[in-house]
């Protein structure tokens, strides 16, 4: 009898221990986070977010039931519906990844003040001032500048080899829309390239779509056909890298490493790593301090939000990694500014003042040039880029 009781007691102890472990090992029991993604993992843009969400959930010990993902949610009332359904399922925190989701997230945030709503790439949190709605972005222009250095070094190598003349160092850029985020992106990339290759120039083609394999491929082909010797992009498919691999033109991609699909031509990619932000918002919400999540969070190189993918040693010029490392240190120390006004001109003149549209009413109102540089994604302004100037050396399609 004694034996039986001791066995039962041991079992009870074991079970309760296990129950405790399972409850304690994960994040706070009962906490749930919901994600709304525009596409699924077939889009490089969304895959970048999905990977970060999974990594953050794993790092913080959330189990599968605590993370709900909804994919292929369009930028309409479906986003609001999805957010409401996530609230019904008990989510304490909801994250959406596409610019067009923003107003629908705000609609839901107003309806559910006890739930935190976080939105990537948006611009309205600092004007809406809701305690439970937050924007986030990253100072990706620094990453693009670094990737630009790799591109410039490659151009220098091509000039030194006699493959092209100094004047033929033309970069082609496949951009999505003539929008500040894209303009800021290609300008920083261009300035990075020109910091090492002073004769570099750039041609831009817009696809007017964030994701269109065929359009991106044909835009890259047109640029190559018109004399561009290196291609970069701000669009979400693998169309441009594939066109480059076919034409044997070096290329720099965005958000994913393209070495596997373009082993002979992929150089490097800049990338926003969303994991630090996801960790931050999950931790804050789990601790019941959701309102402490910044209105407008801006990750940089220091936080690990801006990253470069592996440099393809087969393609890169000698000394590239060292040059990138040196510039990275300068960025971290604050001694190097991407939009240093002494390094570029607009219609032949140096910029001394520029009224950027920070509050989103399509009228410039905030002077963002001070101390000799254009202060992109400034801490007291907003993180989503507002650099929308076409600088000398960059050619854009006439209609835009």
């Amino acid at each position: 009898m004694k034996k039986l009781i001791s066995v039962i007691l041991t079992l009870v102890l074991l079970v309760s221990c296990l129950a405790c472990f399972s409850a304690c090992s994960g994040g706070k029991a009962g906490f749930k986070v919901g994600f709304i993604f525009l596409h699924d993992e077939n889009s490089t843009y969304d895959k970048n977010f999905i990977d970060a969400a999974n990594a953050a959930a794993k790092a913080l010990g959330l189990d599968e039931k605590q993370v709900i993902m909804k994919v292929n949610i369009p930028e309409g009332s479906e986003c609001y519906d999805a957010a409401c359904e996530l609230v019904d399922e008990g989510c304490d925190l909801i994250f959406a990844d596409s610019f067009g989701h923003e107003t629908y997230m705000i609609q839901a945030a107003k309806e559910f003040p006890d739930v935190q709503f976080c939105h990537a790439t948006g611009t309205s949190a600092h004007t809406e001032k809701l305690p439970n709605f937050h924007n986030a972005f990253a100072s990706i222009y620094e990453g693009r500048y670094l990737a630009g250095i790799a591109a410039g070094m490659k151009l220098n190598e091509m000039i030194a080899n006699g493959k092209i003349t100094a004047e033929q160092a033309i970069i082609g850029y496949v951009g999505a829309f003539p929008y500040a985020e894209v303009i800021s992106g290609y300008t920083s990339f261009f300035l990075g390239a020109r910091s090492v290759c002073p004769t570099a120039t750039m041609k831009v083609e817009y696809t007017n779509s964030w994701f269109d394999i065929a359009l991106e491929k044909s835009a890259a082909e047109r640029l190559i056909g018109s004399g561009c010797v290196l291609i970069s992009q701000h669009a979400d498919s693998e169309g441009a890298p594939k066109a480059c691999e076919d034409a044997k033109v070096p290329n720099v991609a965005y958000n994913i490493s393209t070495i596997s699909i373009a082993p002979e031509t992929a150089l490097i990619s800049s990338k926003i790593n969303w994991e630090p932000y996801m960790k931050l918002i999950i931790e804050k919400t789990m601790d019941g301090k959701g309102e402490e999540i910044p209105y407008d969070w801006c990750g940089g190189l220091a936080e690990g939000s801006v990253q470069l993918t592996e440099l393809n040693a087969k393609v890169a010029a000698a000394g590239t990694q060292e040059a990138i490392n040196a510039a990275t240190e300068q960025f971290k120390a604050g001694t190097l500014k991407v939009f240093d006004t002494s390094k570029f001109t607009v219609k032949g003149a140096t910029l001394t003042e520029y009224l950027a549209d920070v509050d989103g009413d399509f009228k410039g109102e905030t002077n963002v040039i001070h101390d000799g540089y254009f202060d992109e994604s400034a801490k007291d302004q907003r993180c989503a880029p507002y650099f929308d100037i076409i600088i000398d050396g960059i050619t854009v399609p006439a209609a835009n």
Partner: protein, 372 residues
């Protein structure tokens, strides 16, 4: 069944089919139930082969996606209302054998007209009046969009399939153009219009924001049913659809019927565009109709142009779509798995018509040759 015994002895094929005579309701329902059951089994098999996941879990997930919470039921009804409404809109044209593949664009220009009203005169009018102005603007825009290919068809017998299809792309570009005009930052995202004042938004009825949409489409269903089945114009549509020459012979003005019907079809698309703007999105993107304009064609045909049957077809398709999304979310499967299952079900249901209309015979069982 009719049999035609021929004198000459000939070799029969191993399998052959004959047309069935009229089936009783019970028989046809039995056949359909069997076909759906077979479809479910096939889906289960495909699920196991593709993913290794227990198919019962997948089915539970699908049901959860549409009926899991009261809100999900409302969302299902809302999606159904939109799909059903557009299906009703294309039906008069299809019944007339006018191949209107342009519902997507017709709804889209209707939406554009409504959003334009909200954008330009959103603050000048009280909300109820604005909503009425939006309705008329949407009806006008969509009727014009459908009317252009309609007039070309009636006057010069152009190919309406291609014409209406191409008009979809023009509509999308038109939407892009206006968004570019309205959003100078170049982000190509308009976002919700009038988020503060809610001018031009449908009111919530009994706390349900989609209830009004659902009621409007319910009324539309009855009206379209009565129009097609009971009215003189509905009869004219049937006659023109069966044979234009017959229609001419009995004194129907075919050109007039074509143009009138296409305009009605377009106007109904306009109503749906209006509902999408005022009752759901409060905004527009070039993708706002989301393929419903094409799915509606399938719904209309699957239901043999009967508005009452369309209610069930729309619910089924929306249920499958929502289920596909829920599977992707619950089981972390690629959403294509859900779409494959949806495709199988729809294909099976469409092919069930074959078994309702025809009978399959094997050689052994029958002796006489048979010609349908």
């Amino acid at each position: 069944m009719q049999r035609d015994h021929t004198q000459k002895k000939r070799r029969e094929p191993l399998v052959y089919i004959t047309k069935r005579s009229e089936l009783s309701l019970k028989q046809s329902l039995t056949i359909r139930a069997c076909v759906i059951l077979a479809g479910i089994l096939l889906c289960a098999l495909v699920t196991i082969l593709l993913t290794g996941v227990n198919p019962l879990r997948v089915f539970a997930s699908m049901i959860e996606g549409s009926f899991g919470t009261p809100r999900k039921i409302w969302n299902l009804l809302q999606s159904t209302a939109i799909l059903l409404g557009i299906s009703l809109a294309v039906t008069p044209a299809f019944k007339m054998r006018f191949w209107n593949t342009g519902a997507e664009g017709q709804v889209l220009v209707g939406m554009l007209a409504s959003v334009a009203c909200m954008f330009y005169i959103g603050d000048a009018l009280p909300s109820w009046l604005l909503i009425i102005v939006m309705l008329f603007a949407s009806i006008l825009a969509s009727a014009v969009w459908a009317g252009i290919p309609g007039i070309f068809k009636a006057m010069w017998n152009t190919n309406e399939t291609l014409f209406t299809l191409m008009m979809n792309y023009v509509a999308m570009q038109l939407v892009s153009f206006f968004i570019m005009l309205w959003v100078p930052s170049g982000s190509m995202v308009l976002g919700i219009v009038n988020p503060q004042s809610k001018n031009g938004w449908f009111p919530s009825l009994f706390g349900q924001q989609y209830l009004l949409n659902i009621l409007i489409v319910a009324v539309m269903t009855i009206l379209v049913y009565v129009y097609l089945k009971k009215s003189k114009q509905g009869y004219e549509i049937s006659v023109v659809g069966e044979s234009e020459n017959t229609a001419r012979y009995i004194g129907i003005n075919v050109k007039q019927v074509i143009i009138r019907t296409v305009l009605i079809s377009g106007a109904l698309c306009g109503v749906m565009g209006w509902i999408l703007v005022a009752g759901a999105d409060h905004s527009i993107t070039s993708n706002s109709v989301g393929g419903n304009g094409f799915t509606a064609i399938m719904i209309s045909w699957m239901s043999k142009f009967n508005p009452i049957v369309m209610i069930f077809s729309s619910i089924l398709v929306c249920f499958l779509q929502k289920g596909a999304g829920q599977i992707a979310s619950d089981l972390r499967l690629n959403s294509s798995v859900g779409e494959v299952l949806t495709g199988i079900m729809i294909l099976i249901i469409i092919s069930s018509e074959f078994f309702v209309n025809y009978r399959i015979h094997l050689r052994k069982k029958q002796k006489g040759g048979q010609e349908a």
